[in-house]
């Protein structure tokens, strides 16, 4: 632990050295970004958009990967503070555990912008989307397709994660509005295609032709559910809707195997985050909260998505 702190301090010292020597020339703004996990396709897309926007604005972007560890994330923000970056973009790992990072940045008078998800400590600004809304959109689509009456299965993400909790909450809100809809079962597929495939096979065994629709909290699981239903010859009788609009899912929507997915605009989130950060640095007016709207993707509009 101590070694880590020393190492971080050393790295920060070196980086600060580089930076100050550079500052002798043009005054280039530096923004530090700590991302939840660069193993996650969506997060990688958000970060790509940040980098693109930063380059366009002539700002230097330093990206670090928190690898899903809130502790690591707090340490990364500490080293950003030590480097005297001009602003910090925080893509939080956890609601509570990442909060100290926000408090530390604010105490150091460095603007900190939360991207994609929230922390309990209020940052300078928030750019992202409301996860519960994506589930409302997906469930609403199912409710409309079924005419407000029918049997639904819900495949959950990894239990206890913010995205799972929010998407469950959104889905349940819609279920409450339509008393004709019955939730047959809800289980976790752990965001995973293979797990989802097995779970769907078991559900088909259990509920068979009673199943009318399946709501999956992400596209990976949606793809697994579609595979199991197709293999069982039931796909044309069951509606499957999921969230995220990953390339595989968009392709499946085009092919008509997945009925709909919900598009969360990664590039818009990344670009808006950098934009807000620059405004905050220059003390210009900015929105405290920017919510990027979701978009339902069906066969009709799958070709026209912004990339």
């Amino acid at each position: 632990m101590k070694k880590h702190v020393l190492l971080a301090a050393f790295a920060a010292f070196c980086l600060a050295g580089c930076q100050s020597s550079e500052k002798g020339g043009a005054q280039k703004l530096v923004i530090g970004a700590t991302m939840l996990s660069m193993q996650n396709e969506f997060i990688v897309n958000v970060n790509d958009a940040m980098a693109k926007k930063a380059e366009a604005e002539g700002v230097e972007l330093i990206t670090v990967d928190a690898e899903r560890s809130a502790l690591k994330q707090v340490e990364q923000v500490e080293s950003f503070i030590a480097q005297h970056v001009d602003a910090i973009l925080l893509n939080p790992c956890e609601v509570e555990a990442s909060s100290p990072a926000v408090a530390k940045a604010l105490a150091a008078h460095i603007p900190i912008i939360n991207v994609n998800s929230e922390t309990s400590t209020q940052p300078t600004a928030f750019v992202g989307s409301d996860d519960a809304e994506s589930a409302r959109i997906a469930m609403k689509f199912i409710a409309d397709k079924l005419g407000g009456k029918g049997n639904i299965l819900m495949m959950q993400g990894y239990m206890g994660q913010a995205a799972q909790l929010k998407r469950e909450q959104g889905a349940k809100e819609i279920l409450k509005q339509y008393p004709g809809l019955t939730l047959l079962a809800s289980q976790t597929g752990e965001w995973d295609r293979a797990k989802a495939l097995s779970l769907m096979e078991n559900w088909i065994q259990s509920y068979g032709s009673k199943i009318q629709a399946v709501f999956c909290q992400n596209d990976e699981m949606g793809m697994g559910a579609v595979k199991a239903l197709t293999d069982a010859g039931l796909k044309n009788k069951v509606i499957v809707v999921s969230i995220d609009a990953i390339p595989d899912a968009i392709q499946a929507v085009k092919n008509g195997t997945l009925d709909a997915t919900v598009f969360q605009n990664a590039s818009e989130q990344g670009a808006k985050a950098v934009e807000t950060a620059i405004k905050a640095i220059k003390k210009q007016a900015f929105d405290k909260q920017t919510l990027i709207p979701f978009q339902l993707v069906t066969k009709q509009n799958a070709d026209k998505l912004p990339q």
């Binding site: 193993q39 239990m159 295609r193 097995s198 096979e201 065994q205 595989d248």
Partner: protein, 322 residues
């Protein structure tokens, strides 16, 4: 107790008794589930369970070889991912014949296994650490090769391997049967198999009696890597996409199956039938809990309790006879 190469023969009847303990636990769970849900005991559900179990069982067979020699392999989950991604990259439609992704995928896994074996035999580093290292390397390589994104759009011929049926029975089940038979023969009927028990039973004694330690260990890790690659290829085919995140914590499921099946972590004992039963027990429980719609939170608790129960029952049986 085990001091020479012949120990495994003495362990024979004991092992079969251990197996009965597990068999009883397995049957008890099956009967319990058949009584609670009418959908459990059907031909269709049986094929579903066997299909779902096959991936883990193949991994567990490989891990069984390694554990019998007193080693451990934590890298199998990552090898599933990396060989799956590699195979998928060669499996796009209208590129290569289906044999190419299979062979390249298998070679990837065999290379990982051989590397594990090489480091384990040529250094004093414990296998736990070595394979922990390759576990991380494998995951990293899978992410690098796939650029963190799933590799999709695979040919129908490739997708048939893990998704098709022959004579009405899923390919995965045929492969499971064939690989099981092959592994059981290697373990029971070959000199290599006998050496595995000898090495795990007492490494010093086996060395003294002329067992080629290095060759045996190289063989088990390479075999384990190859089986992990086969699992990876079949998983990729089953979900029709190569996933860099596939196989996360699969090593634990595989080790669990082997241990429930009576493979001792201290080496020297274990059978393929036991491991297969262990994998089946895990599969049946998770299938049954889904059929009964038991909440995800409780599923984990139930699974843990049953795992401990099976092993305790098994050890009681063992002490009674010992």
């Amino acid at each position: 107790m085990e001091n020479n190469v012949l120990t495994y023969r003495a362990a024979g009847p004991l092992l079969s008794l251990r197996r009965y303990g597990l068999l009883l636990a397995f049957l008890a769970v099956c009967i319990g589930l058949s009584l609670t849900t009418p959908r459990f005991l059907t031909w269709q559900n049986a094929t579903i369970i066997l299909t779902q179990v096959s991936i883990n069982a193949l991994l567990a067979f490989g891990v069984t070889f390694v554990i019998i020699t007193g080693g451990i392999d934590l890298s199998v989950g990552s090898v599933v991912a990396v060989s799956g991604v590699v195979a998928a990259s060669f499996a796009h439609p209208d590129t290569y014949p289906v044999i190419v992704p299979v062979v390249v995928g298998l070679l990837t896994g065999l290379a990982f296994g051989a590397f594990n074996g090489f480091v384990v035999t040529s250094s004093k580093v414990p296998p736990f650490i070595v394979t922990l290292g390759t576990m991380t390397i494998g995951r990293g390589l899978a992410l690098i090769l796939s650029k963190g994104r799933p590799v999709s759009n695979l040919s129908d011929a490739f997708n048939f391997l893990g998704g098709g049926k022959v004579l009405g029975v899923p390919m995965l089940i045929w492969i499971l049967i064939a690989v099981f038979a092959l592994c059981a023969v290697i373990l029971r009927k070959t000199v290599l198999g006998r050496y595995m028990y000898a090495v795990g039973g007492n490494e010093q004694a086996s060395r003294a009696s002329g067992v080629p330690l290095r060759t045996v260990k190289m063989a088990v890790y390479t075999l384990c890597g190859g089986l992990a690659a086969l699992s990876g290829i079949l998983l990729t085919s089953r979900i029709t996409t190569g996933q860099p995140n596939a196989g996360l914590s699969f090593e634990l499921d595989a080790i669990t199956a082997a241990i429930i099946g009576g493979t001792s972590t201290s080496g020297g004992t274990g059978t393929m039938t036991g491991t297969l039963l262990g994998a089946l027990l895990i599969g049946v429980i998770s299938n049954g809990l889904d059929l009964l719609n038991v909440s995800s939170y409780y599923q984990q608790v139930v699974m843990g309790v049953i795992i401990i129960g099976a092993v305790v029952l098994d050890s009681l049986n063992q002490t009674k006879k010992a």
